[in-house]
Amino acid sequence: MTDQAATHGTTASSGWDTRAVVQVFNGLGALTVFGVVFGAYGFQFILLEPPCPLCLLIRLGMIGVGFGLALNVLFGPRPLHYGLALLAAMFGALASLRQVMMHIVPGTGSYGDPAFGMHLYTWAFIVFVTITLAIAVVLFFRDQFDEPVGPPPAAVRWMAIIVMACGIFLAGANVITTLLECGVGACPDDPTTFL
């Protein structure tokens, strides 16, 4: 191990350093939020629950968080990417909290069926807060912002391909399904049909 590698905790022979580990961690985070959007699609097409406007805005927040984290996987960790993910997480938390507050008074009803005891917008708020905390912890590791000493491990490259493919698919699929549900105008507040 070279002096530089020892200083920065790198293992040059394998290519696994702090930067690569953080990239994989970012990829797992992006896949988590994309998984939530896939789950929302499950509710839409299996349980036949068309998404409300706030639900779609929460999806946009999830995709935004995933985009910021995906940039970290694709181009390497940068403060700009984390900032973008945090802004999207704040937006998503605001949208989901707004929907929680609409139904927080007992007897005011809810939107959709609960999953594991809570509604999707409540889970979404928990996910956005958790992502924010996770990013705060990951930012402790300063070594991730060092210039790379070599090409990233194959796992990081594959993670970048998978994350970007998921993001492009989800964003593109939502363009089509949202267009079919809402058309070019504003989405109905209480949708009853889709596709």
Binding site: L60, G61, L71, L84, L87, M164, G167, N174, L179, C182
Partner: protein, 51 residues
């Protein structure tokens, strides 16, 4: 209108995938601003806060 927001994120992903990092970030930030505007649009005006 909501579909246009997803389209903007789709464009941001495509720009990133093709290596245009800064352009993708700019598109993403604009998308985020438009998302905030859309959130405000879908909020009722009957919001009362008691601080």
């Amino acid at each position: 209108m909501m579909a246009a927001l997803f389209l903007a994120w789709f464009a941001a992903f495509l720009l990133a995938w093709t290596g245009r990092r800064i352009a993708s970030v700019i598109v993403a930030l604009v998308s985020l601003l438009l998302c905030m505007a859309m959130l405000r649009y879908h909020m009722t005006d009957e919001i009362r806060l008691s601080l």
